[in-house]
């Protein structure tokens, strides 16, 4: 973790090529939230030939379903959810130009392949550190699927959102490298 790389959205393919698994980064700018139900809706929309409710090109999707905001708060606690549940949908969005995903936990081989093919990066935020994450969100508004409640798509403006590059655009994978390093043979 030598030095923190500061990223600003939208991300370009060139920008993400410089990111390597294990890099510590902070993200500033607009990101979009979506999790299980919103992903299902978006992929269904594409199947039906409809447009997505947000343009995902060069954007980052954050897998989160936040708590309601208390009075005076921009957003409630909003840590990452388990990314694996979005694996079935992620490649479709990557084909649409999605450049980054933020979540927690490993991804499937299909997602990693799609990331390499389309040029995208997977960031890990610290699961369960939801109050800390909320403090980096400066603005939040629901922009699609309000009926999904916590699962609605939100447009967030974040400032110095701390993440770790978990899987880079070449497919280097911190979840594999890290565990390999610390596994003790019996």
């Amino acid at each position: 973790m030598s030095g923190i790389k500061k990223l600003t959205t939208p991300l370009t393919v060139e920008q993400i090529k410089n990111l390597k698994a294990g890099d510590q980064v902070t993200i500033t700018g607009v990101i979009y939230t979506a999790r299980d139900a919103a992903h299902k809706n978006m992929v269904n929309a594409l199947k039906e030939g409809k447009a997505l409710p947000i343009d995902v090109k060069d954007q980052i999707i954050y897998y989160v379903g936040p708590c309601p905001a208390k009075p005076g708060q921009v957003i409630g606690s909003c840590g990452p959810t388990t990314s694996g549940r979005m694996d079935a949908y992620a490649p479709v969005l990557l084909e649409q130009g999605l450049r980054g995903m933020i979540g927690k936990g490993p991804r499937s081989a299909e997602v990693v392949e799609a990331m390499k093919r389309c040029g995208a990066v997977y960031f890990a935020a610290i699961g369960g550190a939801a109050a800390v994450v909320a403090s980096s969100v400066k603005k939040a508004e629901v922009v699609a699927y309000p009926e999904l409640g916590p699962e609605a798509i939100r447009r967030l403006e974040v400032e110095d959102f701390p993440c770790i590059v978990a899987i880079d655009a070449e497919g280097n994978n911190l979840y594999e490298l890290g565990v390999k390093e610390y596994k003790v043979a019996e």
Binding site: G127, G128, G178
Partner: protein
């Protein structure tokens, strides 16, 4: 016969839901702090630092430490000399959950039907309620909000008696290894051994309600808890699955007599936000 009003039960459940979501029990926090001291991996240490910072912030601001404030699992021990006055227990508990999740600005994460209508119920009800009649005139309520990230990684296996201790160990380790970084390690591992299918899973859940790091009263099971903890921490999964020495904070086993022909083992994992709060009325 001692009378306890449903209003009192509702109020207690409400308060416990909020407290559980925002204030990590000291026993879990102590284990997290110890974990940070012995973690060798840089990403593991970084994760633990953030997790502890988050625990402090959530407590200070009374905000949920994790956005997944869970399905409200409620254990109620009802003294047989208690009379519940003014309504029924299930409604009283659900009303407490409704008020707690609304007043505490906690996330509502319950859908109406698992298959045909995954529509949010809007108030985090119904709770999952486990009641037990016990001697005495007290009513003990324990709230264990359970997030899905860790819940999804649990497993049950009906082992054969011939599989024995070796089979138990292998199944627990396999379950934790396959869960990897998904359940938000460092985790607390609840293991239920014995009884029947449903008894084993309930024991595993109950094991998570134990004060983190306390052991089974039987020294043989205590030894097994320690051995499993050591082996789990050799898997290398580490905090958040980034690799490291601390994958689990504790292993809790609950056991029960079983049938001559079976050996059920259930594993229920809890994330580092191992929330549990209780009150005795």
């Amino acid at each position: 016969m001692r009378e306890i009003s449903v209003e009192k039960i509702t109020r207690t459940v409400r308060d416990l839901c909020i407290e559980a979501a925002c204030d990590l029990p000291q026993d879990v926090e102590n284990l997290l702090r110890q974990a940070k001291e012995r973690e060798e991996s840089q990403f593991g240490r970084y994760s633990l630092e953030k997790i502890i910072e988050n625990v402090e912030l959530a407590r200070q601001d009374t905000v949920p430490m994790c956005q997944d404030t869970g399905l409200a699992v409620i254990f109620v021990e009802i003294g047989q000399d208690v009379y519940i006055a003014g309504g029924n227990l299930v409604d009283a508990i659900n009303e407490g959950v409704r008020q707690g999740y609304t007043d505490g600005y906690l996330r509502k994460s319950v859908v109406e039907d698992p298959v045909f209508n995954r529509k949010n119920t809007g108030d985090n009800t119904p709770a999952v309620i486990h009641t037990e009649i016990v001697p005495g005139d007290k009513l003990k309520i324990m709230v264990l909000p359970k997030g899905a990230g860790s819940e999804n990684m649990g497993a049950l296996k009906m082992l054969k008696p011939a599989d024995g201790l070796k089979g138990v160990k292998e199944f627990v380790l396999k379950t934790v290894a396959e869960a990897g970084g998904n359940p938000c390690p460092p985790i607390v591992v609840g293991v239920g051994i014995g009884g029947t299918m449903e008894k084993a899973t309930l024991l595993a859940k109950k094991a998570l309600a134990r004060k983190a790091g306390e052991h089974h009263p039987d020294p043989k099971y205590k030894e097994l808890e320690l051995e499993l903890l050591e082996k789990i921490n050799k898997l290398g999964i580490g905090p958040q699955g980034f690799g490291g020495r601390v994958t689990a904070l504790a292993v809790h086993i609950e056991s029960y007599p079983t049938h001559i022909a079976t050996l059920p083992v259930a594993v229920n994992l809890n994330c580092h936000a191992a929330r549990h709060k209780e009150a005795i009325l």
